[in-house]
């Protein structure tokens, strides 16, 4: 008998059949914890794990008549697109995940997003804003609003500075974007705005490769263009590298942004006062005047010892949205979870506007905030006007 038991156990081990609890929610997540996107990928990991821990500490998620614990399988794609898709497939086929939390970075999420459709598994990303990812599969959802609207928000903010008399049209623009869907969407947002606002003109528009090592040739072209505004769309590593070269070259513009980058703690630490007055549009800010944001900020700091950045917040809220949908579905059946995501209306959310919903393409479309760095490591929320914590400084004062 003992021998039979041992043989049985051995057979299970050899066949690699994992023993799975019946009453648990299996969530798979694939994030770039190592590699080029690891800085923010690591932040997403921290936020994802915190959201799951909080759900489990509260006794689990109510699914129909049962309270179920969340079993999170979080894998590292090493910032490699092929591996990213492979691991999502692995989580679905081998871990039998009920739903997938997508990664960070539009190019990585783009690779992942082809997989859920094959298996009919709900997929919710909190780290990709490129519109090309959404609308192709009914299983793919995302909490980051379109990058195009991020650019549009920045242009509206600049236009408001013109109306206040802080900036004067005509204004010329140097527009630099990464050569990705993310960058293309940003450029489209700026160019679409300019079409209906004659006071602006793009005098130099260039694309750059992700993780470029030398920005001097690109910035030399910017210097020669003598633009008034410097608008770029960069990932964190590129923002740090490009802005370091920008500062070393002594470039100056009336206003400067790197899209969603600006107030990131890592960049301010790396670049110091050189980041003062950089403005950024984000999917979230800890300066949002909602009580739930303050509570989240305190909880996050108590749990991790660090203040949450926008990516921590969106990673956290993405998990909460998925768990809210599962609870609303009252079932772990993929189709029911998907239907719940389609109709989700998460009130008192920490996102701008306080209500998280998804559009027909599966992508959230929420308002953006604009922040501006101030000297001494301070950051002010400067847009929307009714939530601002400080006045925008424009043009950037000469030092």
């Amino acid at each position: 008998m003992v021998r039979i038991t041992w043989l049985g156990a051995l057979a299970v081990m050899l066949l690699g059949l994992p023993v799975r609890a019946q009453d648990e929610i299996r969530i798979g997540a694939v994030l770039p914890i190592t590699g080029k996107e690891s800085k923010i990928g690591g932040a997403y990991k921290q936020a994802t794990e915190l959201a799951v821990k909080e759900a489990n500490d509260a006794g689990g998620v109510q699914v129909g008549a049962k309270k179920m614990k969340v079993n999170l399988a979080l894998l590292d794609d090493t910032s490699d697109t092929a591996k990213s898709a492979q691991l999502v497939e692995q989580l679905i086929t081998q871990n039998k995940a009920h739903a997938i939390i997508g990664g960070y970075g539009s190019h990585l999420v783009q690779a992942q997003s082809v997989v859920p459709d094959r298996y009919g598994v709900p997929f919710l990303s909190g780290g990709a804003g490129a519109t090309a990812i959404f609308g192709r599969s009914k299983w793919v959802f995302g909490t980051l609003s379109p990058v195009e609207h991020l650019a549009e928000t920045q242009m509206n903010f600049l236009d408001d500075l013109v109306k206040q008399g802080k900036l004067k049209t005509p204004l010329t623009i140097a527009l630099l974007t990464e050569n990705t869907e993310h960058g293309n969407d940003y450029a489209k947002g700026v160019n679409d705005f300019i079409k209906s606002h004659p006071g602006y003109k793009v005098v130099v528009q260039e694309k750059f490769e992700l993780n470029t090592t030398d920005y001097r040739p690109l910035l030399q072209r910017v210097a020669e263009a003598k633009a008034d505004l410097f608008l770029a769309d960069s990932h964190l590593e590129d923002f740090i590298a490009m802005h370091r070269t920008y500062t070393q070259m002594g470039l100056k513009h009336q206003m400067l942004t790197h899209g969603a980058r600006g107030s990131d703690a890592a960049a301010r630490k790396a670049l110091g006062p050189a980041t003062d007055y950089v403005f950024a549009s984000g999917w979230w800010s800890d300066l949002l005047p909602y009580p739930q944001v303050k509570e989240f900020k305190d909880r996050y700091k108590a749990a991790t010892g660090t203040d949450p950045q926008w990516y921590n917040a969106m990673g956290y809220e993405t998990v909460r949205a998925l768990l809210a949908a599962i609870s609303k579905a009252g079932s772990l059946e993929p189709e029911k979870i998907r239907a719940a995501l389609v109709g989700l209306k998460m009130e008192k959310s920490i996102v701008p506007g306080q209500v998280l919903t998804f559009t027909k393409t599966g992508q959230a479309d929420l308002p953006f905030v604009v922040t501006q760095n101030k000297p001494g490591g301070k950051v002010d929320l400067v847009w929307p006007k009714d939530a601002k914590t400080g006045e925008p400084v424009a043009p950037i004062p000469a030092k």
Partner: protein, 325 residues
Amino acid sequence: MTALLRRHPALVPGVLFAAFLLLAPVFAQRGMLNDLWNMAFFVVLASAWNLLGGFAGQVSLGYSAFVGIGAYTTVLLANAGWSPWLTLPVGAALAVAFSVAVGLPTFRLRGPYFTIATIGVGEAVRVIASGLEFTGGSSGLRMPQGTFDFNANYYAMVGLALLTLALVAWLQKHAFGLALEAIRQDIDAAEALGVHSTQAKLTAHAISAALVAIGGGLFATNFQYISPGSVFDFRLSLTIVLMPIVGGMATITGPVLGALLFSYLQIKLLASPTLRDSYLFIYGGLLIVVMLFEPKGIVGLWERLIGLRPRRRAQPPVGEARRAS
């Protein structure tokens, strides 16, 4: 077949494994089939590279370029309305043309200079693909909808792996394979004996490029999305080289064993929350052990264990030793 297996009993495990791969879709779950697809893909890459890198001793670190050429050809033509199957020979033809264009100048170089040049070629192709509009830039491209058929792709990849092995084994036994071996051992002596070394290297390069490009095309169809970061990645080139080195270069079974080991490590370790960051470390460690103690890789270790070969101190390849003296 039975007579063949009687004459070559070493083929029995290979035939059994091939039968297992071909029958797997009947009984195996999708997760396991994905792993087997991955293994077959690595077998294609490692065995095709071995033709030039192993048999001819020309260590190229630019093979991801051929994966990329095959993959991009498939995606671009499929988006233009072509059947993905018809794109495979086009990708192979383009890879052959590219291999000749790259080979003509680089095969003038020897040893590390050739290897360094191939790194440059691989990186140049990646940078160009990242900068072009029609390749989708750094974001890459998706296959059109309705082009995914896992079972067909699985059989195609397994078939390609078996074809690659059969072709390499056949070439090894013929004058062409002997010419490559002569080039590896001593290129000057080989030329003195009448081997046209540049032509032989170009041919090996072209054959392996075509096989790798077809693998790249199937990769694109299976993953439905490619980007320069996935198919032109230097890490992929490095992986392609590591597999035959660990398994045993200039043998038929060595690259297969290296590919099986590498894909197993990658699949299992990446899926393990505690070991996910260590697979490259483990593979790197394995590589160091192989280089130090058994330059002929797993195959060499096996031969030594079963007494086919006496234990000897690790020696550099003949060509290297000759250059050193």
